[in-house]
């Protein structure tokens, strides 16, 4: 096949491209320029977007021996990922920007352009498997990224090649070393790539301004805040409470309500939910409802057994055992064993 390999400059995408070549495919590498003003050097644990990362990607392509280009997707990334991230927080939800990037940029803008230019599919270094268009978990449970790919439609999955699925991260590094790829020991990335210093609250404050309001417990004001966007369901630190809790136990954010600028806090037990309602889902491997399956409610989170039923156009998920701190805006991803069934954005939980 003619494949387009998205190369971030990290070890995973470099090895994925190399494995695709070794499998006999005709591979072309592209680095996605996602920032209007890229930093010269990588900082912190961000995995992309600096010129140093672009150089790492081009070096890997040269070593593998494939053509390499840079595609400017900064405008798409700004509109679909960064602006969406800010808008979601402003609306009191907790978005996952990697999901959005996969949904709107890597497997939409890039895939569309690749298909138009005559490529058959896109190769990425995600830790997950696609076999015959069916998405499932990576061989490395600790690195599994099926959660952030669960938003892909069957049509997108049909044009997706994930060579790293059978490999653990350690194996990937070994494969990189064996191929002389200098990125073999490059640190893993885990911060939000467009927030250079990792200060999400500061990033949001600079875009949304200060929006002071009350922190409330049982209808009683117990503190103030400078913007609901600084709070996520389940958060314990930085609540700035001025009234100590009656039971002397820690307080957690239970809900975030941006219109009334109210952050509601309470004891840990109040974080437990057993019903999750979602927006309309994307079925990656369609099943009839009701469906007994498992659900993952955040990236790298634990799975819960549940029964999914229709709730309007969305799902209602009845959890067998309660889940703690479920934030609206995150994805609920249904699994049948290791196979991804589908995904939907969490609307509310109780």
């Amino acid at each position: 096949m003619k494949l387009l390999a998205a190369m971030s400059g990290g070890v995973d995408s470099a090895v994925a491209a190399a494995l695709a070549v070794e499998a006999g495919h005709d591979v072309t590498g592209v680095h996605l320029a996602l920032s209007e003003a890229p930093a010269t050097l990588r900082s912190g644990s961000r995995g992309c977007c600096s010129r140093e990362d672009a150089r790492d990607a081009s070096r890997a392509a040269d070593v593998i021996g494939i053509p390499y280009y840079v595609w400017d997707l900064a405008a798409e990334f700004q509109a679909s990922v960064i602006d969406d991230f800010v808008a979601e927080y402003a609306a009191g939800r907790t978005p996952n920007p990697c999901v959005r990037c996969n949904e709107k940029v890597k497997f939409a803008a890039v895939l569309d352009r690749a298909l138009q230019l005559g490529f058959d599919a896109v190769v990425t270094g995600h830790h997950a498997r696609v076999v015959d268009g069916v998405l499932s978990r990576s061989a490395d449970p600790a690195k599994d990224q099926s959660y952030v790919l669960a938003v892909l439609t069957p049509a997108q999955l049909a044009a997706t090649v994930l060579p790293l699925g059978p490999h653990t991260k350690d194996e990937v590094r070994t494969l990189a070393r064996a191929r002389g790829l200098a990125v073999a020991d490059k640190p893993d990335s885990h911060d939000i790539c467009f927030i250079a210093d990792g200060d999400t609250a500061g990033f949001l404050r600079s875009r949304l301004g200060e929006q002071p309001g009350a922190v409330v417990e049982d209808g009683v004001a117990v503190g103030t805040h400078q913007g609901t966007y600084g709070y996520t369901v389940g958060q314990r630190r930085g609540l700035g409470l001025t009234v100590p809790a009656a039971d002397g136990r820690p307080r957690y954010v239970l809900s975030v309500e941006p219109v009334s600028r109210t952050v509601t806090v309470g004891p840990v037990a109040a974080l437990d939910v057993s019903t999750v309602l979602t927006d309309p889902p994307v079925w990656s491997s369609p099943r009839p409802l009701p469906l007994a399956c498992t659900v993952q409610l955040r990236a790298h989170g634990m799975v819960h057994e549940c029964v999914a039923t229709a709730d309007g156009a969305g799902w209602s998920l009845a959890l067998t055992t309660p889940a703690r701190a479920v934030a609206a805006g995150q994805m609920a991803v249904l699994y049948d064993g290791d196979t991804v069934v589908g995904s939907a954005t969490i609307r509310s939980a109780a």
Binding site: A33, R51, P67, Y69, V70, W71, D72, R113, L117
Partner: protein, 381 residues
Amino acid sequence: MVSTAYLDHAASTPMLPEAVEAVSAAMREVGNASSLHATGRRARRVVEESRETLAFALGARPSEVVFTAGGTESDNLAVKGIYWSRRRTGRTRVLASAVEHHAVLDAVEWLVSHEGASVTWLPVDDLGRVDEDAYLDALSDDVALATVMWANNEIGTVQHVRRLADAAHEFGVPFHTDAVQAVGQLPVDFAASGVDALTLTGHKLGGPLGAGALLLGRDVACTPLLHGGGQERDVRSGTLDIPGARGLAVATALAVERQPETAARLSSLRDDLVKRVQDAVPTAVHNGDPADRLPGNAHFSFPGCEGDSLLLLLDARGVEVSTGSACSSGVARPSHVLVAMGQDEPTARSSLRFSLGHTSTADDVDALVEALPAVVERARR
């Protein structure tokens, strides 16, 4: 890929065999041209003969040749050095065309952001030629420096350098020109052109990479960028790159000597390319001045296509071209040259430059014309 059609000579053209020989020979010799012993004198002789060869080829005096590490350094030295020297006299405005190479453009912008300069960007017409009325209006006795390139690296349009330089001198304004694309393709005579400073570089004319020169009039004050041993009349310190200077001089002399036949051959090949591209892709728009342009340059917009998609698809077919301008991270941005000529962003992003040089043949043009229609069809949005 079995064969490659290299249509990117404006990026870098192959070294002339004579230049390779000259560089290799110089590399076998030991010597610092600043040393006082016999070995040093031998080295100095090579440098000074190279300086004379270069000066003679370009109508300059040997003392007007400042060897540098290439076009970007020469442009920076001229723009910043002349500005700094003139700033002391209260002149702080820089006139520069909107279509300059980034080595001039960004140097001027740096002077504005860091060194108290102001700038008047000179507009161009839809062929990319500087608007002379606007230029004359902008000239006055607060101007430190005017800089307009000899011929544009993207769209090939040739500027009326002599007239622009004469007008500058009426206001006591020194005039710099970036002639990187012109030397070897057009007749270039430093003295006859009337300019005060002229940038050239080796790898665009058959010489080595990393070797260039600034021709700097004897009476033009220029503050150095590099301080040190005082080489190159105190304007550019640093131990001379003797193989580089030698290769540059040999290549320049040959390129200038062969310029009339090169220009005739390349413009005929280029005219054939232009006609056949227009026949093969009727919607293609040829940019720049149809007549008064670099002999090896053709530049097209392909409406409805992304230039970098065209480049990728041609590259896969062994046809090597350029989208015009790329920043250091390799991202293709809409060309500032085309935007200055009044093109909208989608049109500016849809363009490709095809540039011919001394090794170009009809086979290269054939390969392009054969590949292009299917590539344009595929890349059309």
